[in-house]
């Protein structure tokens, strides 16, 4: 299924990397550290990780963002080792949904999560994740798994099926070989799924209260602590392959909520000529450096509508890999525009990275709108018929 070519350190690694390139299924991620000697047969060892698949264009390892429609617009998914920046909509109504989809997808696939926030406790964020929508074909997979251990599973519960099993058997992480799932936002994720998943939380007020001295640098203390926390997790859990004790074959999904808010100690949203204007861009650069050398993917939501200095927005965009902006119609004159009456807002794909390639999978469709139905968040192309009609009237 998904393939990652692992290479050893040093000259031997580069040669096998060159050999693997000719098969064009190598990723930009190059693992440091020795390979397991047992399976060393000369060529790179292929490893499959749940919830990932290689890109058709360049063999880059992709993970799902939690929204299959968004995966398609981004060329198949989010590349491992990259940053997805979501520019928040004005009242932060819909961007938390994208954030939660990303984390929920991580739980379903058994990935490790790292949730960072300055305004909400990560444990609370995780409680509010949407429940997965399991359709019949997917459910058959789980049933086969379950039927081997428990004969009576005749009560077919479509969504919260885990509840029927919980008192009797040990619940492991939900594994599914599908890439990308649908979620029901009207329901919460079952608590068992969260309890069996591995996650780390970074809640800024808690971390700032501990009085360890952080080395003086032009980064705000909140960002410094977050970077050290992330680096620590990556090293301790072996996501970058440099820890000899830990052999990690899983993805770390990092979610940072509302980066840039004054709660982080950054005044980039407060004034145009801010003192710590480089703090945010420096943070992003170091974060990207950490991501590129580890098996992780990151989503950051940022209230760019609050940042008054447009230069900072341009720099932040250049330092991120994939940039998606949400524009909701709440409170704007577009709310009454007949063209947009079926939708809640527009979604703009501002940037898609060109990784290992001269070109990228840019979608031809630029007029995209989203709407939040009772259960699902959908992204659609604005109908051509409507556009033609609105031009005539």
């Amino acid at each position: 299924m998904a393939a990652v070519a692992t290479c050893g350190a040093g000259a031997g690694g580069t040669e096998s990397m060159a050999a693997a390139t000719s098969k064009s299924n190598v990723t930009s991620f190059q693992r440091r550290g020795p390979r397991a000697r047992g399976t060393d047969s000369g060529g790179p060892r292929l490893v499959s990780i749940a919830g990932t698949r290689p890109s058709v264009r360049n063999g880059q390892l992709l993970v799902s963002t939690g929204l299959p429609a968004l995966d398609q617009l981004l060329g198949g998914g989010l590349a491992v080792g990259t940053v997805l920046l979501v520019e928040e909509d004005k009242y932060s109504i819909y961007s938390p949904l994208l954030f939660k989809y990303f984390l929920a997808e991580g739980i379903i696939n058994g990935h490790t999560l790292l949730v960072a926030s300055a305004k909400e406790d990560p444990a609370d964020i995780l409680q509010e994740l949407p429940a997965p929508l399991l359709d019949d074909s997917c459910k058959k997979e789980f049933d086969e798994d379950v039927c081997n251990k428990k004969p009576e599973s005749d009560i077919k519960m479509k969504i919260a099926w885990r509840y029927q099993l919980s008192p009797k058997m040990e619940v492991g992480p939900v594994t599914s070989s599908r890439f990308g799932h649908y979620y029901d936002v009207s329901k919460r994720i079952p608590r068992e799924l969260i309890e069996t998943s591995k996650w780390h939380g970074f809640f800024l007020p808690e971390k700032m209260s501990s009085a360890d001295k952080v080395e003086c640098c032009s980064l705000t203390p909140g960002y410094m602590k977050l970077l050290h926390f992330i680096q620590n997790i990556i090293y301790e859990e072996g996501f970058d392959g440099s820890n000899p004790q830990k052999k990690q074959r899983n993805i770390l999904r990092i979610g940072i909520q509302s980066l840039g808010l004054p709660l982080w100690g950054d005044d980039v949203c407060c004034s145009e000529n801010c003192d710590s204007s480089h703090s945010l861009s420096k943070f992003l650069y170091i974060l990207r450096g950490l991501l590129r050398t580890s098996l992780s993917a990151c989503i950051i939501t940022m209230p760019t509508h609050l940042i008054q200095n447009k230069a900072i927005i341009a720099r932040v965009t250049n330092l991120s890999d994939t940039v998606v902006a949400l524009e909701s119609f709440v409170g704007s004159e577009r709310e009454t525009n007949p063209l947009y009456k079926d939708y809640h807002g527009l979604i703009h794909i501002r940037q898609i990275p060109r990784l290992n390639n001269l070109i990228c999978d840019e979608s031809d469709v630029k007029d995209l709108a989203f709407k939040l139905k009772r259960k699902l968040f959908t992204i659609e192309k604005i109908s051509d018929a409507l556009k033609w009609w609105s031009r005539r009237s």
């Binding site: 640098c217 420096k282 650069y285 720099r315 070109i359």
Partner: protein, 288 residues
């Protein structure tokens, strides 16, 4: 093409068939240069506005490696394997070049993590990441000078040294002032272009209407020092599947004050998997 100053218009209209063994052959024709007769002592400025001009960086990297020059690549934006994989499409192996000593590669992303989380004993080229206030880029300049100064044995193994930077705007984002970056470029030019008779190529983003004053200062300052400016722009009319942007080539003579106008050409381009095809404005093969 010998002796011609303007590229053959017929060749532009046809679009050359992509030969994967060369870096963009059409761009070489437009610039009227080949790896065999690369000029020396020049500063080339790459600039992109509303689009991604990184394909020019890949072009010059493989061009100078093919021309048997010693290249110091300060790659701040992407990882080594990214440039390596693209360079292999253009017929050059960066890993092999690095092993035989032709390429000195500073991988900004990886080095920044090393220098940020652990104090280094020796001055690191990206030392400024640990500093609280905006310092200067002297350690980075020392790194470049050491990489490109030929060894004392006297035998010239490579043709001429080349410094390639991708890109200078990132240095501004990391806390350097425009003046510090201009100083760095000045020192590098003095060493690489004048003293060692080599070339320098640097990419700067044009932020357009984003009111980035530091970036504008840097861009204008460099424009006046450059011998060749390659400016890619997104089309003013928006996204187009067949025409990815417009390239403006400007030849300049910064040292001589002359009343003659600098020569400039404008083309539109489309980026393909292993090649970039250029055509005159409005002459895209897709619409002819």
């Amino acid at each position: 093409m010998k002796g011609m100053h303007l590229p053959d218009i017929r060749m532009l209209l046809q679009g050359a068939s992509p030969r994967s063994s060369e870096m963009f052959p059409e761009l070489n024709n437009l610039l009227n240069t080949t790896p065999d007769k690369a000029e020396q002592g020049k500063l080339t400025l790459l600039c992109d506005a509303r689009t991604d001009g990184s394909f020019l960086v890949h072009h010059f990297l493989s061009f100078y490696l093919k021309a048997n020059c010693k290249v110091c690549f300060v790659a701040l934006l992407q990882s080594f394997s990214h440039y390596n994989i693209v360079a292999q499409k253009l017929g050059v192996s960066l890993a092999a070049a690095r092993e035989r000593g032709q390429l000195v590669f500073l991988e900004g992303l990886k080095s920044s993590v090393d220098v940020f989380f652990q104090a280094q004993e020796d001055p690191h080229p990206l030392q400024f990441l640990r500093e609280a206030s905006a310092g200067n880029l002297q350690p980075l300049y020392e790194f470049v000078r050491e990489a490109l100064t030929p060894a004392d044995n006297g035998a010239a193994a490579w043709r001429c040294p080349v410094l390639l930077v991708d890109d200078l705007s990132v240095l501004l984002s990391l806390g350097m002032g425009a003046v510090a970056v201009l100083d760095f470029v000045h020192y590098c030019r003095a060493t690489v272009c004048c003293e060692l008779k080599g070339n320098m190529v640097a990419l700067v983003h044009d932020s357009g209407d984003a009111e980035d004053e530091e970036n504008n200062t840097l861009l204008i300052g460099l424009s006046h020092q450059s011998h060749l400016i390659l400016r890619t722009e997104g089309l003013a009319t928006g996204f187009c599947k067949d025409v990815h942007g417009q390239l403006r080539i400007l030849w300049r003579r910064p040292s001589q004050s002359t009343a003659r106008r600098d020569r400039s050409l404008t083309f539109q381009y489309k980026i393909q998997d292993k090649n970039v095809s250029f055509f005159a404005r409005g002459m895209s093969p897709a619409i002819l």
